[in-house]
């Protein structure tokens, strides 16, 4: 109960700040005394959770719709696919302007834009995940539900949601981890040559670096790590341990997820109370809405209902289509006359430069982390610590620390064209590491024993067993890392340290530049080109590699 009240209080307390009056001629001052950190951390955390709640509902909604309706699926899946490839950060300035227009004179607009950025960073992956687990529910479970005549709502809560719970929570955890990057970035942005700061850890860090206050910057990093670890330990690990019971498998997993918080909370009276006094009444109220109806009437009503749903579906589809078309029309209007062939070619050339950087990052991170990951994966004791650490590493918004690293580049005279590769790798390499660890841990014992019996060593062992076995995991990790790298390039190719601004030649720096100056046609063009690069990479590289890994290197 106390936990519930404190949750309510903190939401109100930190939420109050959102409605503060905002005058866009005055830049909000960030107080860089360490005692303010808890407040800023609270604001950041609140932003994360609001965005995550929207993501969750949206993901379940679209995933459900795509799984249930063929027509919806035909639109939703390709749309998700493209949206997933769009670099969110490129849009940030555009959405900030849009939301500010919605809430004039209040920070609420910027707040919404930040939340929207986090939302778009995490939602597509979750929607895909939920859709996938919906369509892979064992047929017998669905058939049993049909036999007992469950209503769609009953079916959803007794079959579909529990069966998807484990993958939904896992995906949520990964997406939430990815969200930190966007929250840190969106708290301190400059749009149309104006600096806008939202109170939060990201802006605190930016302010500290601006002032050259190293101890405050260090405090911010520590607070961020604490926040990420607390979210992991207090929310995600307990949820995963709890969701273990929803896993659909016949044999007990060798290493069930454990969480000390879950062990502590399990069976606590609060949950029973919450279940009996809150959840059950809601569920009862909901089930009253969908009472079973006599068969004959039901059939008639069903037909009416289906017509009604179809009509609603068509209306929504028309609305979305008209929005998209008018958006496209507006974009073409803006672009018309502003573009030249040379300009487009130049942007594509910059795209190639960034592509090289993304590729270099992937190759380097693979070369460095594969041996380390395999070594860790083969020692269960080390892996138990190292894997969550790598996950936290992947969650940490390294973009907070970019200015410091850039300062080092300036001091060491490292050209930004090379240094930006390191900046990109700082955030994305971890995906490769923890997937390689997972792959090495998943090698079945009998294959390991066979390798020992037949005396495989060194290169023989790597090419016969280790590399093929971890390949599917590496593809997942490298694909995620590369996708993140495109986004990261927007903040990694152009960075400031005090008065020095370092810039690399690349599409990321270009996007950062044009969003700063508010050059709308160029923003549209550069984002479109980057999205195109990502889509093409997915289609012609990662999709192929996934299929190849699935065909050749599946363990069964």
């Amino acid at each position: 109960m106390l936990a519930l009240f404190s949750l309510l209080w903190s939401a109100l307390h930190f939420g109050k700040g959102m409605l503060v009056h905002f005058d866009d001629t005055v830049v909000l001052q960030i107080d860089s005394s360490p005692s303010q950190i808890p407040y800023y951390a609270g604001r950041t955390l609140l932003r994360m959770w609001i965005a995550f709640s929207f993501s969750l509902f949206f993901a379940i909604g679209t995933g459900y719709l795509a799984a249930k309706s063929k027509t919806a699926r035909a639109f939703i899946l390709p749309a998700l696919d493209v949206l997933q490839s769009v670099p969110v950060l490129g849009f940030l300035s555009a959405t900030v302007v849009g939301f500010m227009a919605l809430f004039p004179g209040s920070l609420m607009g910027v707040e919404c834009a930040a939340i929207f950025a986090i939302f778009t960073g995490q939602v597509w992956n979750m929607a895909f995940g939920f859709y996938h687990s919906m369509v892979t529910i064992p047929t017998d479970m669905q058939e049993a539900a049909s036999t007992y005549g469950l209503s769609p709502w009953q079916r959803f809560k007794t079959v579909e949601l529990p069966a998807s719970a484990h993958s939904l929570i896992w995906n949520s955890m990964m997406s939430f981890g990815g969200g930190w990057f966007f929250v840190a970035q969106s708290e301190a942005i400059s749009v149309m040559n104006k600096d806008i700061k939202l109170p939060g850890l990201g802006s605190y860090m930016a302010a500290a670096i601006d002032k050259g206050d190293n101890s405050a910057a260090l405090w911010a990093v520590v607070a961020m790590v604490v926040l990420i670890m607390a979210s992991d330990q207090l929310v995600w690990r307990p949820l995963l341990a709890w969701a273990d019971k929803f896993k659909i498998e016949l044999t007990e997993s060798a290493t069930p997820a454990t969480s000390w918080v879950y062990n502590l909370l399990r069976g606590a009276y609060v949950f029973t109370w919450f279940d009996e006094n809150v959840l059950q009444p809601i569920a009862d109220a909901l089930s009253k809405v969908s009472l079973p109806v006599p068969v004959k009437a039901a059939r008639l009503r069903k037909r009416h209902k289906r017509l009604l749903w179809r009509a609603i579906g068509v209306l929504i589809g028309l609305w979305v289509a008209s929005e998209v078309l008018s958006g496209l029309y507006a974009a073409v209007q803006v672009l018309h006359g502003a573009l030249s062939v040379e300009l487009v070619l130049h942007v594509i050339w910059l795209g190639f430069l960034t592509l090289l950087r993304v590729a270099a990052m992937t190759v380097l991170a693979t070369l460095i982390w594969t041996p380390v990951g395999v070594w860790i994966g083969f020692q269960p004791k080390v892996a138990r610590f190292a894997q969550p650490l790598a996950q936290i590493g992947a969650s940490f918004p390294v973009n907070m620390t970019f200015p410091i690293v850039v300062g080092f580049f300036v001091a060491a005279h490292i050209p930004m064209n090379w240094g930006s590769i390191l900046l990109i790798a700082m955030g994305t390499q971890w995906y490769i590491l923890f997937n390689v660890i997972a792959g090495a841990m998943a090698i079945p014992n009998d294959l390991k024993e066979a390798s020992r019996v037949y005396g495989l060593r060194n290169w023989d062992l790597w090419r016969t067993m280790i590399l093929p076995a971890i390949f599917p995991f590496w593809v997942t990790g490298a694909c995620t890392a590369a996708g993140g790298a495109w986004n990261a390039s927007i903040v990694a190719e152009l960075a400031t340290w005090g008065d020095t601004t370092l810039k690399a030649d690349g599409l990321g720096a270009y996007i950062a530049d044009v969003t700063k100056t508010g050059d709308t046609p160029m923003i549209i063009l550069s984002i479109a080109v980057m999205s195109l690069f990502v889509v093409l990479m997915n289609k012609f590289l990662w999709r192929k590699l996934y299929a190849f890994a699935e065909r050749r290197f599946r363990l069964d």
Binding site: R266, G267, P444, D446, L447, E449, A450, R452, V453, Y454, G455, L456, R457, D460, T464, M465, P468, R552, F553, R554, L555, D556
Partner: protein
């Protein structure tokens, strides 16, 4: 005995013991003081139930697992790491799914320094020998189970090992495929082609051991130790229906039965105390679901002509080892008696099958309550309202050091639930005595 003295062991265990840590962190002794030698030219079968430690013996012998104490030797020298002259055929095949048949077989030669041409020739020969001629370029997942295991055998033979080890190599295959493969392997071994001379096989299938091996060693569980050692001089090919064959099978049956279901003298009743073997000695319980005990009772009731334990095993279609466990469970509950190889109802057992559902539960509950193991735990539960599962498991571990305490605990909960004596709340991991329902209450008041 003369042949034994000149026999030259290719692999040997001397005074080997092995302990593992269970998932719950308890130290579990799997093997105790094992002396075993595989001699040049013999086909030795190690026979035991699942969980008897026979696979661990194989792993110690090949160097895959290091003994906790004692020595593993190959050709008279203490093993350091994996025995390079031994190869293993795995129950799960352990083929690399990304390599073709040919490449999988070539793995067997990877550690040997041979030229490419020699290697290709050896791989071809092994593939032909094991009848995989047309499958060179196929991937394991395109093959049936039997064909996959052929690849496993070819991979094991390609390097001409001094010792071939079979770890339940036929148990994942269907009956016909397994029989076919067994015959082929025996004729390979007898023809001495490909240099195959010594085979060490681990199995739970008695007929399989008698059919293939010329020496059989039976291993008994908790902790794993060697029992009966039997020379098998029957000429190959062996006829499983012949009386000599059946005689050997029944010798092994008898040995297992007397070890597992000994004919103990009846205990002297003490006034006011429950009388039971289980009450006097601390004894583990077989890991058998309650439903199987009930099933055994009704089969015995329906077919009074079934008296021999082997016939029962055939009738219920279970492995002999499993059948023994079920019978043993019924025996420690005093529902059946097992003089020699027979299984007979006790008076209580007869009363049990004649009772209705409530009556059966009552008898079951009374009998379970008499078992010393249950007695101790239930006494603990009566002192405290609830006891943590980990505490109970710890008590079990100290009372039964050779058993896997987590598995004993799970079986106890299953029996205790049916008997209405104990239950666990899996949310809180607390063990408790369930509220007595009226059905069983009458039974409990008698104590």
């Amino acid at each position: 005995m003369n042949t034994k003295e000149i026999a030259h062991p290719v692999a040997e265990l001397s005074a080997v013991s092995k302990s593992f840590k269970t998932a719950g962190g308890h130290e579990l002794k799997v093997l105790e003081n094992i002396d075993l030698a595989v001699n040049q030219g013999e086909l030795l079968a190690l026979l035991g139930q699942s969980g008897s430690g026979k696979s661990t013996i194989l792993r110690c012998l090949t160097g895959l697992v290091e003994p906790t104490s004692g020595r593993a030797m190959a050709n008279g020298k203490t093993l350091d790491g994996v025995n390079p002259n031994a190869s293993v055929v795995f129950q799960t095949f352990a083929l690399y799914p990304w390599l073709t048949v040919e490449q999988n077989v070539a793995v067997g030669l990877m550690a040997h320094k041979v030229s490419r041409a020699d290697r290709d020739a050896a791989v071809d020969k092994a593939i032909e020998l094991i009848g995989l001629g047309n499958y060179h370029a196929a991937y394991p997942r395109e093959l049936s189970g039997g064909m996959r295991q052929r690849v496993g055998i070819a991979r094991a033979l390609v390097s001409q090992p001094k010792l071939l080890c079979l770890d339940e190599a036929f148990s994942a295959l269907d009956v016909l495929t397994a029989e076919n493969l067994r015959q082929e392997l025996i004729s390979l071994w007898r023809s001495q082609e490909n240099g195959l001379s010594s085979i060490f096989m681990v199995t739970h299938n008695i007929e399989e051991a008698v059919e293939m091996a010329n020496r059989i060693v039976v291993v008994f569980p908790r902790p794993g130790r060697l029992g009966l050692v039997l020379d098998n001089p029957l000429p190959y090919p062996r006829d499983t229906k012949s009386p000599e064959f059946q005689r050997l099978v029944s010798i092994i049956h008898e040995s297992i039965t007397t070890m597992t279901l000994p004919d103990l003298p009846a205990e002297v009743p003490v006034a006011g105390q429950p009388i039971s073997r289980g009450r006097m000695r601390m004894e583990s319980i077989p890991f058998v679901p309650v439903g199987q005990i009930l099933g055994l009772m009704s089969i015995l009731n329906d077919s009074p002509e079934l008296s021999n334990i082997y016939d029962i095993s055939d009738e219920i279609g279970k492995e002999f080892g499993e059948t023994i466990s079920i019978v043993k469970a019924a025996e420690i509950l005093e529902l059946v008696d097992t003089p020699k190889q027979d299984v007979r109802f006790t008076d209580l057992g007869r009363k049990f099958v004649a009772s209705d559902r409530v009556g059966r539960r009552k008898i079951f509950s009374e009998q379970v309550f008499k078992l010393r193991l249950f007695h101790i735990i239930i006494a603990l539960l009566h002192e405290n309202e609830e006891v943590e599962a980990d505490r109970v498991i710890k008590d079990i571990a100290s009372a039964l050091p050779y058993d896997n305490p987590e598995r004993v605990f799970q079986t106890m909960i299953a029996w205790g639930r049916y008997a209405g004596l104990m239950d666990i709340n899996n949310k809180t991991r607390m063990v408790f005595v369930p509220e007595e329902d009226e059905e069983v209450a009458a039974g409990d008041t008698r104590h």
